[in-house]
Point group: C2
Chain length 367, copies 2
């Protein structure tokens, strides 16, 4: 269930006028902006943007960006966008980071419905003139893959490849692995099934999963076994893991994860805990959490964003803004159960000013 509180009667024209008034002259009336936009759903926000442009020949988003600043500006900008377009922006920001934020990419790929995710891919193309998978494939190369290589290069095959890998960061970096192969010529590849985590990411963002209810129990059994074998052998980046996680329907995966739990007395994510420095393993855990229980996953992201020294505003904003019209009410309940503190109280304690006011409004609780 959603948390935002939308009045029954809304006048898009009156809203556009109120926003214009809030932005006009000296100073900005942030409270007025929150009291309008914080109580409108995605369709209404879009209509307001169109009405505003019609009335004032001005892009409302650009105007708000020039009026506002800091976390508040970022949150308003995220909130005002269409959900699919917002996800496209979030994904692009995550991809373009010096060290791409795999968790955001996984979150967007795995917690949205297949149709929602497809809408994100469309929005991404419309905005960035590239496909999402194209940018993920071109930009996520070479960061955590290094860690993954190092892992593979255990004794007695340990060879320092850090220098040979350095050139691979840029788009035009050429064949990193070709160079790499030359360095480690003493031992040629025999196992093409071991993949790096950009392959996992590309497979996840490219997925258009079946969204029906049908489950194949035989497949659940055999794939629970495949997953367990791979986890047991610590072959986390095994091609079969990636195939299963990126192509099976969510219902099918739930059946598989349940089977795993029944057969082995523990969840697959528990079995994947361990080396906290292993980026691939982290990405894998996030993937399974997002697919298996997105609300629980979002609760955890919120908890971590607040609990840490220094709030992680990006994560906090992202979850509240993207879930406020969806299931934030359920996530709030989970948060309370897990932390014995209401989410809005925790958010209020950790934030301030207009930013705080907007988040609380989206959480369904005025300051």
């Amino acid at each position: 269930m959603a948390t935002i509180d939308v009045p029954e009667q809304v006048s898009v024209l009156a809203d556009a006028e109120a926003l214009r008034k809030a932005c006009k002259g000296w100073g900005t009336d942030e409270k007025a902006i929150i009291s309008v936009l914080g109580h409108r759903n995605a369709v209404q926000r879009k209509q307001i943007r169109l009405a505003y442009e019609d009335l004032y020949q001005e892009d409302l988003i650009k105007r708000l960006e020039s009026e506002l600043s800091g976390d508040f500006e970022k949150a308003v900008y995220r909130w005002i966008l269409d959900p699919a377009d917002r996800d496209a922006v979030l994904a692009n920001v995550a991809i373009k980071k010096l060290s791409p934020d795999h968790h955001v990419i996984v979150e967007i790929s795995c917690t949205r419905s297949p149709e929602e995710h497809l809408a994100v891919r469309r929005a991404y193309q419309a905005r960035f003139k590239h496909s999402l998978e194209e940018d993920v494939a071109a930009h996520t190369k070479g960061d955590t893959r290094k860690a993954c290589h190092r892992k593979l290069l255990q004794p007695p095959y340990s060879i320092d490849i850090t220098t040979s890998n350095r050139g691979g960061q840029s788009d035009s970096g050429g064949l990193r692995s070709s160079r790499h192969r030359k360095e480690v010529k003493g031992c040629r590849s025999l196992v093409p099934e071991m993949l790096s985590d950009d392959q996992l990411l590309v497979a996840l963002v490219s997925a258009f999963r079946y969204d029906g209810e049908e489950i194949n129990t035989r497949v659940a059994n055999s794939e629970a076994k495949i997953l367990h074998e791979a986890v047991k052998d610590k072959e986390f980046n095994h091609e079969e893991i990636i195939r299963i996680l990126s192509t099976r329907s969510k219902m099918q995966l739930m059946a598989t994860f349940n089977r795993y739990r029944d057969d082995h007395g523990t969840t697959i994510t528990k079995n994947l805990e361990g080396d906290s420095g292993d980026e691939f393993l982290k990405t894998l855990r996030t993937t399974i959490r997002c697919l298996n229980d997105p609300k629980k996953y979002f609760e955890k992201v919120l908890r971590n964003s607040i609990r840490r020294v220094g709030t992680d505003e990006d994560a906090l904003t992202r979850v509240i803004v993207t879930r406020a019209e969806k299931d934030l009410k359920d996530i709030k309940e989970l948060y309370y159960k897990r932390n014995s503190v209401p989410l809005d109280q925790a958010v209020a304690k950790d934030t301030a000013g207009d930013y705080k006011a907007l988040l609380l409004t989206l959480l369904g609780k005025e300051d």
Copy 2:
């Protein structure tokens, strides 16, 4: 341009009645079926199916299947379906073959527009309750991958792995590669960038390419270089090749292939010729042909389907049926240029009966 000849005025009801009459009583009037269905476009055929069902409480497709037989039945069945649904059926047939037909999967993934391909993925899910990529990933394992493994296992690392691979054909085959790894323990994987061709297929069917005109010349230059390096080193199943071919837009790829040609004086497909037994290499060439010049590719499929001893009816039907409403006129022209024989004449020589009559009708030429 299309080849089928559709009259300006069509009465869907009259068509349904004519088809009913053609199927009723002793014997079937195949000529009547051809003279109706062979001159109707996809929208009309759908309307006819709906009208027929409405009038006679009977599925027209099922009725035709029970009345007709052989290549003619197959061709009518393929033709009457919606294009996206037809592609879904073609893909499924290709996947389910004992030795999956990679070329059909590549053809469907790479010659359709991004939106058409997406419609195929939707149709596939509606019909088979699985995603296309899910079935490709689950069913294409273990056939040509073996060849690819053998290729990798050149001296001095040559080990016979055929027996250890045998278990990998079935869905529940467990971790083939895990077993495989044990067999070849003497040399662990260092290069996760070498992929097998099911990875290429899965990436191609999962693609939702950007369809715009924008080209990045810098990327074309650097990726032409990457492709050339990989081809030169015979690293055909290199992760970078698969990334480029499966994520870049067709316009971008054309720029890249052109650059390749300009830089090296020869096309990439020419450079990929060689070992005719190498399935991966064949799949790769088909991929590039389909992406770069689909009409030329279709001309070649037609040529091979006719030229060989024993006509390849599946390929012949597939190309004529799927292109008749699209670009078969252009393909016919290419065929004539290349073979100095009109396509309809070649088809007439190689086929017979109602099957021949339907193909010629779809080619825009009555027998």
